[in-house]
Amino acid sequence: MSSHDSHNENAHAHKPSYGIYILIWVALLILTGLTVAVAGINFGNLTVITALTVASVKSYLVLEYFMHLKHEKKMFWLFVYTSLFFLGVSLILLFADYTFLEGN
């Protein structure tokens, strides 16, 4: 992400190759298998948290590699993660709210 040729209009000035994407795909399949396997075990509330963590890792791989965020300018990175951050904030505030409202 650090070295980026800002003079180049095309963000994919790096040598395109098939290999890395196939590796990411294998990683995504393994993580899917992991989610399914973990779902079989009852961790209680941790099950959902584990599932969401694995889903987040998978999304990160898709965003960075398949969606080329790794090779885009920092600005793209800032836009994407700022929007995701605020979605996360809404989720956390919502749950904080409902946790403390419990019993009312």
Partner: protein, 209 residues
């Protein structure tokens, strides 16, 4: 402006901003994030309130359909990104091949979805059905969200098929080529978003039982 240096007359990069195009696509994807993000928040709250009912309802879903569709979508994400690599390398036919494979995966996803929904319908579980309305309010909410969220996602898959199909046409017509492929990239970005949404839909609906 009136540069006297000998620049090629028809500079293909003139009046072209690929980065701007991609940024525009990302901005559109953020609106999708609001659309689906809002629904995920609704889902989260109702799951919190109706914890037991949601888990009972999720047991009705066949996680095999969900897992299979996850694999299909992940693989289609791979093939669309490979079609971009191919066009970058100037391998037009290979790029077209990968695009068509992506469309087939997308259609496979919808066929799978059709069988899944048909099975639900035959069990009398569809919005407003008598069987469903006899269930607890939590289960009614679960299936309501299930049909709305996977339905809206399915609609995105159908739109993706049309979009990628159009890109295939443009690639055949050389409008998308090794120099100019930002449209294919944007279609790819959209397709990956559809994949990411499914990455979250799958564990939340199918694996919480």
């Amino acid at each position: 402006m009136s540069s006297t240096t000998a620049t090629p007359i028809a500079d293909p990069h003139l009046h072209r901003d690929d980065e701007g195009s991609r940024l525009g696509m990302w901005l559109f994807l953020f609106t999708e994030l609001i659309l689906f993000g809002g629904m995920f928040l609704v889902f989260a709250v109702y799951k919190f309130i109706h914890y037991e009912e949601f888990h009972a309802a999720a047991r009705e879903l066949n996680s095999m359909f969900g897992a299979l569709n996850t694999i299909i979508l992940l693989t289609s994400s791979l093939t669309i990104v490979l079609s971009i690599v191919a066009i970058q390398k100037g391998q037009k036919l290979l790029s077209i091949f990968f695009q068509i494979i992506t469309i087939f995966f997308a259609l496979g996803f919808m066929v799978n979805k059709y069988f899944e929904w048909s099975a639900k319908f035959s069990h009398g579980i569809y919005p407003g059905s008598e069987t469903l309305l006899e269930k607890s309010s939590g289960e009614i909410l679960f299936f309501g969200l299930y049909y709305v969220m996977t339905g809206l996602h399915g609609l995105h898959v159908v739109i993706g098929v049309l979009l990628i199909g159009y890109m295939t046409y443009e690639t055949i017509k050389n409008k998308v080529n090794s120099d100019k492929y930002v449209r294919l990239e944007s279609a790819g970005l959209y397709w990956h978003l559809v994949d990411i949404i499914w990455i979250f839909l799958f564990p939340l609906f199918y694996l919480i039982a």
